[in-house]
């Protein structure tokens, strides 16, 4: 590949925007096309938790790499990105889960992540709103929170400053190596990057991505109510078992003082309507951990579609000559956007990536979706 190819990025979500930024910084001529506007899809529905996860070594490598990239640029993020280094508390309900907390702590620290194991008392001190009697928690202080659509816009702004062209309201009808059809006309470039999130398989049939619906609720402002993003340890089970429906306590304090309450997962195709029974279960699960949460005022509920793959890892790399993929990030697109972008650019420019790209190869063999 020549040193600075021209690239069309399809999708101005957080992943596409981060890719556009990294490509433009590397000297590529970049055009970004989005059917609506930056962050209008899954990015706008996302929580924005920048979190290191350990479902697999590869997931840890990508999330850790990415979160470090976020931390490095934190000081340069504009205020509307609402970056907050609140850390994560992985909450354990009983001794069995505390055993898991210690294992997790060992795994993270062996790989250079700062962690702290909190016992029951220390957990109460850290988060007085959590109910008494919880066994403890793993604190990951370097995890962060951002406002995802603002982050996507920020990445795009930086891409624009390096010459990228951004076209919103541009619905891509068809996509092929080196070209896309948009509003009836074909546009060409050396490469096309499909970063259309859950829509990616519509444009590149055969991509193993399905929409995995989630619900979120945001409250009015209650500054100081929580200090960390609190997630039940069982979240891993919820996030990583591809059953039809699951909920887990996952509550985020935003810089505004608002709380974002999740989470739910279900596979119901593209039905965006509220699943009210599931929403209720999700809220009751959160209330089991945070007893006074039900008294806070909810402002809005919404649903969104995570782009899920069968092995829970995103698709980042070449699909065929002239056509690259950066999609399928499930619930980790905001966290892994910067790492995904670096990985993609390194692969395109045939540089040595900072992490092993093989687990993210879009052509890897994978189990079929349930």
């Amino acid at each position: 590949m020549s040193s600075s190819p021209s690239v069309i990025v399809v999708g101005a979500g957080v992943v596409g925007s981060a890719c556009a930024e990294a490509l433009a910084e590397a000297g590529c001529r970049v055009s970004v096309l989005d059917a609506a506007f930056p962050g209008a899809g899954v990015t706008g529905a996302a929580m924005g938790h920048l979190v290191v996860m350990d479902d697999s070594d590869a997931q840890f490598a990508l999330t850790s790499y990415s979160r470090h990239l976020w931390s490095e640029r934190a000081a340069a993020l504009p205020p509307e990105v609402e970056d907050e280094a609140c850390g994560t508390l992985w909450v354990a309900v009983d001794d069995e889960e505390m055993t898991h907390v210690r294992k997790k702590a060992a795994y993270y620290s062996e790989r250079g992540e700062v962690v702290e194991v909190l016992d029951s008392h220390a957990l109460r001190q850290a988060e007085p709103q959590l109910r008494a009697g919880l066994a403890g928690a793993l604190r990951v202080p370097d995890d962060r929170v951002v406002y995802p659509p603002a982050a996507a816009r920020h990445f795009l702004e930086r891409a624009r400053a390096r010459g990228a062209e951004v076209q919103t309201g541009a619905h891509v009808e068809e996509l092929a190596p080196g070209r896309v059809r948009c509003a009836g006309g074909w546009r060409e470039a050396d490469l096309v990057v499909n970063a259309a999130g859950p829509e990616a398989p519509r444009l590149t049939p055969g991509l193993p991505i399905v929409p995995r619906k989630g619900h979120l609720v945001i409250t009015d402002r209650y500054p100081g109510f929580l200090h960390h993003q609190v997630v039940e340890l069982g979240y891993l089970k919820s996030a990583h078992t591809l059953t039809r429906e699951s909920v887990a306590m996952n509550v985020q304090p935003r810089r505004t003082g608002q709380l974002l309450v999740g989470s739910s997962r279900e596979l119901v195709g593209w039905d965006a309507s509220l699943n009210r029974a599931l929403l209720a279960r999700m809220l009751r699960r959160a209330a089991e951990f945070i007893p006074s949460l039900p008294r806070l005022d909810a402002l809005r509920t919404w649903t969104g579609f995570r782009p899920a793959t069968p092995d829970k890892l995103p698709l980042v790399g070449m699909w065929e000559k002239g056509l690259w993929i950066a999609a399928g990030h499930e619930g980790l697109g905001v966290t892994t956007a910067p790492g995904t972008a670096r990985l993609l650019v390194d692969l395109i420019l045939e540089r040595r990536p900072a992490i092993d790209p093989a687990p993210f190869d879009p052509r890897r063999s994978m189990p079929a979706h349930d």
């Binding site: 609506a36 506007f37 930056p38 962050g39 209008a40 706008g44 509307e80 007085p128 709103q129 659509p149 603002a150 816009r153 919103t168 309201g169 609720v217 409250t219 009015d220 402002r221 209650y222 500054p223 100081g224 109510f225 505004t256 003082g257 309450v261 309507s273 509220l274 009210r276 029974a277 929403l279 209720a280 279960r281 809220l283 009751r284 209330a287 007893p291 006074s292 949460l293 039900p294 008294r295 806070l296 005022d297 909810a298 402002l299 809005r300 509920t301 919404w302």
Partner: protein, 520 residues
């Protein structure tokens, strides 16, 4: 003898006439700035009727309470700075809300207790349908017939029929979610589900506010806002008031304020005299005639009237508001304590749109029986066009009869046509001038919940993009104030609302949607 309520404001003892709204009580105690905005600006009430969320206070430890919807009570402890951390003791000492959930069913459920809703409920019930009426306020009557002790004469007949027809009233309850068969209500913090066979939407209208520099200063109210506060017990005596904006309400409110011994500094209607005169078939030939026609002239003797004039900005100096007005060529200032400024009404279409009812040109598309495009769902009153109380009563009657399965008498349909024709003439008279689209400066807040300045929404292409890019419309009012303002300035349609339609405790969503709920 009037009963009194003793309460505290930030720990300071205060007293109020029992039965007034907490907002009126605060106002009568001299409080103008009731909350601090997210960027630290002092804010006071605007709409007076539960829409704008600018009058939020902390009551007995509960944050974000709309004081305009809350009757003052003896022993209440009020803190003006909202957005405080709920104190743990308060949160845990009582049982969580939402623990008792009740399900109700009625053949006809009416949402809204104004003239349209009352007429619909009365007619449906008198026709034999089991009928239930939901309203946010503690008493039926809506904004126009809002009252504290005795209802106004025009309303008392309807309220009597409402009682004798055995309509089930569910007052103090707000619809926060809806499906094709059921409403979820927040009834004083508890969930209630109401199943319906037919639904009549009579959700009324709210005031249109157009942002101009200074419009967020405490003491700048809506015109309807001032009226609502007056009806809720706020006193304006000896206050210097400027009334501005547009619509027939201006004169009525100026007269009502004058009756409360306010000193009306001036009255400014943006519509030009020529247009008012051309449309009014004689009645509107002069502003004075308007007042005479409506019977208000005696109270407004000597008050300066300006037509074709509007407020360009308002500043605050040494406890006085200075409103700068213009008629396009000349500018002048009026000093005042209160500026009441509103630009007419916009219908509350949120619930209708959420249910999938087709809308066009800011009204619900309706058939001859007031039926919407969704089977079993009817709409009455301002949802079918801003056309006043006569129209509300007749369309309510039609919708109520139709929802009860009765034929619609031809006489009612003829009355409706007359009311709509009159409203169309009025609407034409008060059409908003183009100059009003550009009143906001780049640093003027357009979204008062999130403090988003007008300049920040330049360059975006829709309400939804404005939300995600700037947070405009993401606050507790869910875009009810900035949505129509941005719509007027930029031509954007409003973004659809998401449940809960009004802020409600998480408990209501958690308990009100239990597993037993039928799938949609």
């Amino acid at each position: 003898m009037t009963e009194r309520a003793d309460f505290t404001i930030d720990g300071r003892p205060a007293e109020a006439e029992a039965g007034v709204s907490l907002l009126a009580a605060l106002w009568n105690e001299g409080v103008r700035a009731v909350r601090t905005s997210v960027t630290g600006e002092a804010r006071g009430p605007l709409c007076g009727m539960g829409t704008c969320f600018e009058c939020r206070v902390t009551v007995d430890g509960q944050a974000h309470v709309r004081s305009c919807l809350t009757p003052v009570r003896d022993g209440m402890s009020v803190e003006l700075q909202s957005a405080s951390v709920p104190d743990e003791a308060t949160l845990t000492e009582s049982s969580p809300p939402g623990s008792t959930e009740e399900r109700l069913h009625a053949e006809v459920v009416v949402v809204g207790g104004g003239p349209a809703g009352l007429a619909a409920a009365v007619h449906a019930a008198e026709a034999g349908a089991r009928t239930l009426l939901v309203d946010t306020y503690p008493r039926p009557g809506g904004q126009i017939w809002r009252h504290r002790a005795d209802p106004p004469a025009a309303a008392s007949d309807w309220i009597a029929r409402f009682v004798s027809a055995r309509v089930t009233p569910l007052v103090g309850a707000t619809v926060v979610d809806a499906t094709a068969q059921e409403l979820l209500l927040d009834h004083a913090g508890r969930p209630r589900r109401v199943r319906f066979d037919r639904l009549v939407l009579a959700t009324g209208a709210r005031e249109l506010f157009l942002p101009f520099p200074g419009w967020t200063l405490p003491g700048v109210l809506g015109v309807g806002g001032a009226q609502a506060m007056l009806k809720a017990g706020a006193r304006f005596s000896r206050k210097r008031v400027v009334v501005a904006g547009s619509g027939p309400l201006l004169v009525a409110v100026a007269a009502a304020l004058a009756k409360d011994a306010a000193s009306i500094v001036g009255l400014a209607e943006q519509a030009p005299l020529g247009r008012l005169a051309a449309v009014g078939a004689g009645l509107w030939r002069t502003p004075r005639k308007i007042a005479e026609g409506l019977g208000y002239a005696a109270r407004l003797v000597g008050v300066p009237w300006r037509t074709g004039a509007w407020v360009r900005e308002v500043e605050h100096e040494h406890g006085t508001l200075r409103a700068t007005l213009t008629d396009g060529s000349r500018t002048w200032s009026w000093d005042c304590d209160v500026l009441a400024c509103g630009y007419g009404l916009v219908p509350n279409l949120e619930l209708a749109r959420f249910l999938g009812c087709r809308t066009a040109a800011d009204r619900v598309v309706l058939g001859t029986a007031q039926q919407t495009s969704v089977p079993g769902v009817f709409a009455a009153g301002e949802l079918g066009g801003i056309a006043g109380v006569g129209h509300a009563l007749v369309t309510g009657a039609i919708a109520g009869l139709a929802a009860a399965g009765r034929e619609v008498p031809a006489a009612l349909a003829r009355r409706r046509a007359r009311e709509l024709a009159f409203a169309a003439r009025l609407g034409h008279a008060f059409v908003l001038r183009d100059e009003l689209r550009g009143l906001a400066h780049p640093d003027t807040p357009v979204c008062r919940c999130e403090d988003v300045a007008a300049g920040r929404v330049e360059g975006v292409a829709s309400s939804r993009e404005a939300k995600l890019a700037t947070r405009a419309g993401m606050g507790p009012c869910q875009g009810r104030v900035c949505g129509p303002a941005l719509g007027f300035a930029h031509g954007w349609p409003s973004d659809n609302i998401r449940p809960p339609f009004f802020p409600t405790p998480l408990a209501v969503l958690a308990q009100g949607n239990d597993e037993a709920r039928d799938p949609m």
